[in-house]
């Protein structure tokens, strides 16, 4: 009863925010009680991250009210928000990679000694170690972040947010880089924080997580709040329908008969240090080959080695039956292989350049006329064609790609490789950070590309995605392919292969 009387921990209403050319938020509202996990859902570009960045003091709202404990809150800077007990874990990792884990966690609040003149490293590391213990993270606080896996970096971010002893914790897709065991760990910690009365905002695109941990769910669309519902009683279909305004079906791929299709890519005995061990597979035209496995199983490493982004110790690569010597990405692109990396911003897109130039970037020679002058009108025409066929949502082909949503950025990269006439396309986590609606569009796009005869590799950590797309599934564990599975296989079968470690080595380790 008393809880009813108390004002909510956070209450945002009528929040407007616009960026040049975009109305990111229009009258958005959101409410968070203490001790609840509140899922915030919506397609990319729906305004979830913008709304939360306003709460965290990173963006300033144009209009609207934000109340903390029923009182108007001044959220002029990240520090002001921190002082009100609001912490955010960013979707894009924002750690200082040259500093240690402990230095990152306590940045700006370092323990001091000698009257505040000197940093107290011992206390710093001890404090960080304490936090790691509470989240069962076995990590030396003195470890330099640069050397950590993405999953571990994420845990460091998480530890950092916890260290603020926040009353409001905002998590933007916290599980994107975590495996199942790590996710279970994360959820256990969330449960504990909840019991301590922390209010948690949980931004995610994964529907199963919503059911597992959320108390309430708020759905946003096009910068507006569609509604807030109790999570337990609301069917997933309803949430999705609210997000996209239409119903979606999720079904397994049906493998076409490809026995007559020529082999497009053949990889034999690919080996690279301890990351890739004797990996062989082939890929037919029109086929989608899924690569499943846990974090660190070596899937991305295989893709990078095939693409020539990393050197290989041994192994042959045959494209359309001909042996090709791929030493650098340029060789792979010449052979018609395109790689769409999981980190689009870092590797796939020139984010400061516009859509037109990004699409043309790999094929500039095609638009180069006399004296090296670029034929802008031809580029505009081609870009326009792809914007239309791939349904890229952008005001124009001159829009800078950093202003596009994740799904549309992905489409721009796809357009780039299509224009380059790549007929072997490797997608590494094609829907990472992409919302449900755009996901199914990307799925449709990939399936369509395969139907046109493109040979496609899809690497994904989300099993439903692998099952939805793949005609055949290669499962990796510790650098090896532990088995191939047909379409329509079960998640259990995949997991069994994904955890099939080299048993001999395990025996030896146990014996010694």
């Amino acid at each position: 009863m008393e809880a009813r009387e108390r004002p909510p921990l956070v209450s945002m209403a009528g929040v407007d925010k616009s960026f040049p050319g975009v109305n990111a938020l229009r009258g958005a509202r959101f409410e968070l009680r203490s001790g609840e996990v509140h899922a915030l859902m919506g397609e990319n570009g729906a305004g979830k991250s913008t709304l939360m960045k306003i709460l965290a003091g990173i963006y300033q709202r144009d209009r609207g009210a934000v109340l903390i404990d029923g009182r108007p809150a001044a959220l002029g800077s990240p520090r002001a928000a921190q002082e009100l007990g609001i912490a955010i874990i960013h979707q894009e990792l924002s750690l200082m990679r040259d500093l240690t884990a402990a230095q990152n966690i306590l940045i700006g609040r370092e323990p001091r000694r000698a009257g505040g003149l000197l940093l107290d490293e011992a206390a710093l590391n001890a404090t960080a170690a304490d936090i790691f213990r509470t989240i069962h993270l076995a990590l030396d606080p003195r470890t330099v972040v640069r050397g950590l896996t993405i999953a571990r970096q994420q845990m460091v971010e998480f530890a950092k947010a916890l260290s603020y002893r926040s009353r409001v914790l905002i998590m933007d897709e916290p599980t994107a880089a975590l495996n199942d065991a790590e996710i279970a760990e994360l959820f256990a910690i969330i449960g504990k924080l909840k019991a301590e009365g922390v209010g948690i905002v949980y931004i995610s695109h994964k529907m199963d997580e919503l059911k597992r941990i959320a108390d309430r769910v708020t759905v946003m669309r096009d910068g507006e709040t569609v509604g807030t519902l109790p999570a337990a009683e609301t069917p997933v279909e309803t949430v999705i329908a609210m997000m996209v305004g239409r119903k979606l079906t999720d079904e397994a791929a049906e493998a076409p008969d490809l026995s007559a299709a020529p082999v497009a890519l053949e990889v034999r005995g690919l080996t690279r240090g301890r990351w890739i061990r004797d990996v062989s597979f082939d890929l037919r035209r029109g086929e989608i080959l899924g690569f499943a496995g846990l974090m660190g199983a070596g899937r991305t490493e295989v893709a990078r080695a095939v693409f020539g982004a990393d050197p290989r110790d041994a192994g042959e690569i045959l494209v359309h039956g001909r042996k090709v010597d791929i030493r650098q990405p340029r060789d792979a692109v010449r052979a018609g292989i395109g790689y769409l990396s999981e980190d689009r911003k870092q590797f796939g897109l020139a984010t400061g350049m516009d859509v037109r130039n990004n699409i043309a970037l790999a094929s500039l020679s095609r638009f180069t006329g006399l004296g090296g002058v670029l034929d802008e009108s031809a580029m505009r025409e081609v870009a326009g064609r792809y914007i239309e066929t791939l349904a890229i949502k952008t005001p124009s082909d001159r829009q800078e790609t950093r202003l596009l949503s994740g799904g549309n950025q992905q489409k721009v990269v796809i357009a780039k490789w299509l224009l380059r006439d790549c007929d072997i396309l490797i997608f590494d986590e094609p829907t990472r950070g992409i919302d449900v609606g755009a996901k199914s569009e990307i799925y449709k796009l990939l399936t369509g590309l395969a139907a046109q005869g493109k040979a496609i590799v899809v690497i994904s950590s989300e099993l439903p995605e692998i099952l939805r797309l793949s005609h055949r599934i290669a499962v990796m564990c510790e650098g090896r392919i532990t088995g191939f599975l047909p379409a329509g296989t079960s998640q259990e079968d995949i997991m069994r292969l994904a955890t099939r470690r080299n048993t001999d080595a395990d025996e030896i380790r146990r014996a010694s």
Binding site: M96, D98, L118, T143, R146
Partner: protein
Amino acid sequence: MTIAENTAGTLSGIRKSGAHHKLLAFGSLIVLVAVFSVASPNFLQTNNVIAILQATSVNGVLAIAATLVIISGGIDLSVGTLMTFCAVIAGVLLTFLGLPMVVGIPGALLAGFASGALTGVLITRLRIPPFIATLGMMLIYKGLSLAICGAKPIYFNDTPGFTDISTGSLIGAIVPALPIPNGVLILFLVAFGAAFVLQRTALGRYTFALGSNEEALRLSGVGIDSWKIAVYAVAGGICAIAGILLASRINSAQPAIGQGYELDAIAAVVIGGTSLSGGRGTMLGTMIGALIISVVANGLRILSVPQEWQIVVTGSIIILAVYTDNLRRRGA
């Protein structure tokens, strides 16, 4: 378990490779010294060693200032002419105004500190990129120095003891067998001080953080502008120390010199393994880098190699140093 193992492996790899680079630079220094001492019996004479150290003192101190700025992710092209500007300020205070050294020296240091802070303000508040801001300041200091002096040197003949700052020897007075000039002593003190600041103080921590990921630092609630200004201000103060050292050694403030020193300083930083993209670097590396430059210059001079060719060799060493660093990184 495997994750933990991987992490431990990567960690020791990083530590090893970091040590490896310093070892490599230090090894190159030893090899150079060995080669020159075999080639010329004069090279390892006490007088010559002291001459090398003395020749390193000014560039070494400037390189320390440049290291701070470069680790923070910036660049400072104005260190050379700021050094001269501070020497000129010392000349104005000591010679023109006849003030005592206890006023004149701190005054020059303050001028350097304030100038550095101004550069920091240009970069943070006016959002001028460090390369441009310090290029502009480089020319401003140069012009101001010439204007103040009327393009003529200012001599310190009326300030007894001024030359002792650099050429006297406190250590020699205590241990006659070790006539190490004060300039060298000051170089080492500044280096130790800067290393201490980098490793043990908040300013040092934020210097690395700025160079590593400025946005992450901002989102952590740290006011990055004031820390960045502090980095440039401290660097400016260190440039003033270099200015006093130089003026004391030649008993004059020479307004026409200074330009070009910034490149030697940056060269020492780079040879010492500090990353020009920021976030990584050490004072020890910079000191070794500065010594390598002086040893090469001195050794080649003793071997009567013309100065033109000394410059060519120094340039080659810079490229070689960065290339071996790249090789190491790819191999790791």
